[in-house]
């Protein structure tokens, strides 16, 4: 027995109430991160607006001829109506989630593919790395928006989900590159070596040792990808290349431009979607900045 060696006790032993659960610890850390909280609240606000909007507002109000055309805001139409009698507020309530869904689908696909490839290339190196890095670099040189414009103009009916998928397949290169570089530095940490010495499988090393460390990083790149995807989708819709049969923020802008809302000073038509888009991007930007602070402690303003 080890009676001969001195008992090294921890300097202060842990009592039950000092033990903080992982989740509450994360919550405390997030709570201290004002940037992240601000961004998250903004996105939550927009999310709640779309949720209650779609629940409370009759979808028929987004259809052509739902009200008199080109009405300024009134108690019946909170944000007035457009040239074809659609209720702008209802349009907004149904169009915002559409944009969010496109962003989420593209984000999940882009970060999913990117993370998988990044881990594969960074951890296994060798031919995998050469092949994946080369492919990533080639794809990075392809102007995604151009390809999206071509594809969108070729397909006649494009659903929200298809749009998300399409954008997602052009969004994985960034995450793949950044995750790969992070894995490259992590895989040579001595605790990864120790796991290998202890006979832990590669897949378990990736899952148990590397992924948790990179989680804030992956989250930040997810939010970034969502923002880029939303921007791309709104851009396409504003050009009239997005889904035409479902309301979306970009489509509202497209109609307002087509019918000269700006010249006709119909601010209630082109203004609201712009405000929502700006809020969306500020929120997403704050979230990325906040998550950056989580993964990079040097950026933290408070501990």
């Amino acid at each position: 027995m080890s009676t001969a060696s001195p008992q090294i006790a921890p300097s202060d032993s842990i009592t039950e109430d000092e033990q903080i659960g992982v989740f509450s610890a994360i919550l405390v850390m997030i709570g201290r991160n004002k940037t992240l909280v601000a961004g998250f609240s903004l996105i939550l606000l927009i999310g709640l607006f779309s949720l209650f909007g779609t629940l409370l507002i009759d979808p028929e109000r987004t259809e052509v001829g739902a009200g008199k055309p080109a009405q300024s805001p009134s108690s019946e139409h909170l944000l007035g109506t457009d040239q074809q009698g659609r209720d702008v507020f209802a349009d907004l309530a149904y169009g915002t989630p559409a944009s969010l869904i496109i962003g989420l689908i593209a984000g999940v696909i882009g970060v999913g593919i990117g993370t998988a490839l990044g881990f594969l290339a960074g951890y296994y190196r060798g031919y995998w790395d050469t092949f994946i890095s080369l492919t990533t670099d080639v794809f990075l040189t392809i102007p995604a928006l151009l390809v999206l414009v071509v594809i969108a103009s070729m397909t006649t009916v494009l659903s929200i989900e298809a749009m998300g998928l399409l954008i997602g397949f052009f969004a994985w290169m960034g995450p793949a590159r950044t995750i790969r570089s992070q894995v490259l530095s992590l895989r040579d940490r001595s605790y990864v070596d120790v796991a290998k010495f202890n006979g832990v499988r590669d897949i378990e090393i990736i899952w148990r040792e590397l992924v948790p460390t990179l989680m804030p990083y992956i989250a930040a790149s997810f939010v970034g990808t969502v923002a880029a995807a939303i921007l791309a989708s709104i851009g396409l819709s504003a050009l009239g290349l997005g889904p035409q049969n479902e309301p979306s923020l970009g489509l509202t802008i497209y109609w307002s431009v087509t019918y000269g809302a700006l010249i006709r000073e119909m601010w209630w038509w082109f203004g609201p979607p712009i405000v929502v888009i700006v809020m969306l991007f500020i929120g997403l930007f704050l979230m990325t900045a906040g998550l950056d602070q989580v993964s990079n402690p040097r950026l933290r303003t408070s501990v």
Binding site: P10, G199, P212
Partner: protein, 332 residues
């Protein structure tokens, strides 16, 4: 062949080269040794003498550009170098375990100590209930002199010595027959170093594992090892019982190494070893030590001395002691 199961580890003519652009660097050049059950071997040598390369090679965990060019590593009678990756993986921890260098970075900062310990066991298909694992880990931690509460802690809550104790606990978790401790005390202060080596010794003794302690602290070696091997420029130049090495060193390098140590019995000037280790890219011909050896002869520059077993389990590779014999042979 006597590669029976009674010999936990037997290394034959191990050759490990680092393939660089300038050519192969012979980091380990024909090293052979054997470990008996429960034996403690100290492997001593300067930086770059191939100690750590041996350690990694024994685990078959050497990294590019290192490559095992030749030799055999028998672990409980099985040649590790003939196994595939998955078979090697299963041998690690269960039969051959490593206490890593640099205790401070050896634990995952985002995992609790207990989870890291369980991971290794699970990788070997050990399935226990949560409570059984907790009991098992508590037992391991007490064995290395740690409080049970450490299991629930994160590495940053532990001191350097405590972290190294955790790695020792990890290494003995599956009762391996061989433990390799690669400079386990390198980042720790002197007092803690002694305690850690003492802990390692007790843990090793209890499970009867043959152990290799790698380092350059001769004092620590004297405290721990039953046998000491001296490495120089990728070769094993002398190996023998600890007492023999200290009291009766044969190889000039060992002699100079011993005379560079302070002694409590009377005052004397400490002497260093002049010169530096030769480049292993182009090792000098003959005996690798001849460039720094005060007693080098012409023969040392031509002929590579072999490690020859002499009395008391003491072996050395030096021409000084075989010269007379070969001259006789020449005259005869």
């Amino acid at each position: 062949m006597t590669t029976t199961k009674d010999v936990p580890l037997r290394v034959e003519n191990l050759e490990v080269h680092y393939h660089t652009r300038k050519g192969p660097v012979k980091a380990v050049d024909g090293v052979s040794f054997e470990l008996q059950k429960g034996e403690r071997l100290g492997l001593v040598g300067e930086s770059g003498s191939g100690k750590s390369t041996i350690a990694l090679s024994l685990m078959v965990a050497h990294k590019e550009p290192a490559k095992i060019e030749g030799g055999k590593i028998f672990l409980n009678g099985t040649d590790m170098l003939t196994l595939n990756d998955n078979e090697v993986r299963r041998k690690r921890l269960s039969e051959i375990a490593m206490v890593p260098q640099g205790a401070l970075n050896s634990l995952n900062p985002v995992m609790r100590v207990k989870d890291q310990m369980i991971d290794g066991l699970k990788a070997h298909g050990v399935s226990k209930s949560q409570d059984e694992f907790a009991d098992f880990i508590a037992e391991l931690l007490t064995r290395v002199g740690l409080d049970v509460a450490v299991a629930e802690m994160y590495p940053h809550e532990l001191s350097g010595g405590m972290k190294q104790r955790v790695t020792i606990a990890l290494s003995i978790s599956m009762n391996p027959s061989v433990i390799i401790a690669d400079e386990p005390t390198s980042a720790l202060d002197v007092v803690v170093q002694r305690q850690i080596v003492q802990t390692l010794r007790e843990a090793q003794d209890r499970i009867g594992a043959a152990t290799i302690l790698i380092g350059h602290d001769m004092g620590l070696m004297a405290q721990f090892a039953t046998r000491i091997g001296i490495m120089y420029a990728g070769r094993l130049v002398e190996i023998g019982p600890t007492k023999e090495i200290f009291n009766n060193p044969k190889h000039p390098y060992t002699q100079m190494l011993i005379s560079s140590l302070p002694n409590t019995r009377g005052k004397r000037r400490l002497s260093g070893i002049p010169g530096i280790t030769p480049s292993l890219l182009n090792p000098p011909p003959g005996c690798v030590f001849h460039t720094r050896c005060p007693q080098a002869t012409e023969r040392c520059m031509i002929e590579i001395p072999k490690l020859v077993a002499e009395e008391n389990g003491h072996s050395w590779a030096c021409h000084l002691y075989t010269e007379a014999k070969s001259e006789e042979e020449v005259t005869a």
